[in-house]
């Protein structure tokens, strides 16, 4: 079941091995109940401290990698309008265009939403729990795409930095777009946001928040699949 061909899998094996060692030590203690002498204390320190810490460290790293995957985002059904659109080879949305780029790949949600608190670090743990709580209490049984739930919004406004780490605003062709040239200083200062113009259905067209219905839009002449895209 566990094949070792990446660091992530190596970490998972390491996490498992240290967890099993800890479990063996603890079961031994529960069965034998030896007096708390110096050597028992040291053995227990391994079973209760060192080994579980190693497990959670390795588990954290591989778990973190796992949460970056688009499939993880899509595992809560309310994200399907986003993930299915991003994976659709015929979609013209910015999320899909970016997802088709190899540099985004399977981690495309994370690449644009790197400041989203479900990813990484300590605060994630509490936020993850909070998300799970909302998901269960407010979005369970809301239909296949979460249409019955409250509209989804972001905790904090989308920062230009999330776009400008790739689109530097320095490229000549980018500067030739009239709307960019007109607002250049304000964009660089952050007073004008990229998402003032590049937002809503342009990014996530199937989202209920932007007038979508969760599903792929019906094909019309104006949004026909680009030449060369997979035929439906």
């Amino acid at each position: 079941m566990l094949k070792i061909d990446s660091t992530e899998q190596l970490l998972r094996v390491a996490a498992l091995v240290s967890a099993v060692i800890a479990v063996l030590i603890l079961i031994w203690y529960l069965l034998v109940r030896p007096p708390l002498g110096r050597s028992t204390k040291i053995v227990l320190l391994f079973g209760l401290g060192v080994m579980p810490l190693a497990t959670s460290l390795a588990g954290n790293i591989s778990g973190f990698e796992y949460t970056l995957q688009r499939s993880f985002c899509g595992s809560c059904h309310v994200m399907l309008p986003y993930t299915q659109d991003a994976a659709d080879p015929t979609s013209h949305s910015l999320a899909a265009i970016h997802s088709r780029n190899r540099a985004f790949g399977e981690e495309s949600c994370y690449t644009c939403h790197a400041d989203y608190q479900m990813f990484g670090t300590m605060t994630t743990k509490l936020n993850g729990l909070r998300h799970l709580y909302y998901y269960i209490t407010e979005y369970a049984n809301t239909g296949p795409y979460g249409e019955g739930g409250k509209p989804i919004h972001m905790y904090k406004p989308f920062q230009n930095a999330m776009c400008t780490r790739c689109h530097s605003t320095e490229a000549p062709r980018w500067g030739k777009v009239d709307d960019h040239a007109a607002a250049l200083d304000d964009i660089r200062k952050g007073d004008t946001k990229c998402i003032d113009c590049h937002s809503g259905e342009v990014i996530h067209p199937r989202a209920f928040a932007h007038g979508g219905n969760g599903r792929a839009p019906a094909r019309t002449a104006s949004n026909a699949a680009p030449a060369g895209a997979a035929k439906e």
């Binding site: 079941m1 967890a19 479990v23 708390l36 227990l44 810490l53 959670s56 778990g63 949460t67 993850g128």
Partner: protein, 78 residues
């Protein structure tokens, strides 16, 4: 203040052992079958209980090293 006996210390260690086992079970499950629910629970609650039980254990050791319960009648249970 309640008095700390050898029994208290052994109970602390026992509680710590059981909560650690529970959190290890969560973590092992989340590694073998990584799903969003398990993963989030294991990475938050699991690690919280794991850490809390280590703190309990260290507390027990400190109490023990300070000689609590050395002279109570249950001392011989050790």
């Amino acid at each position: 203040m309640f008095s700390v006996t050898k029994i208290t210390i052994r109970r602390l260690v026992l509680i710590s052992t059981i909560t650690t086992l529970a959190s290890l079970a969560l973590m092992i499950a989340s590694i073998l079958a990584p799903g969003p629910l398990l993963l989030v629970v294991a990475m938050s609650l699991g690690q919280f209980f794991g850490t809390a039980s280590l703190v309990l254990y260290l507390l027990a050791i400190v109490l023990d090293l300070q000689g609590y319960g050395e002279h109570d009648e249950f001392g011989s249970l050790d």
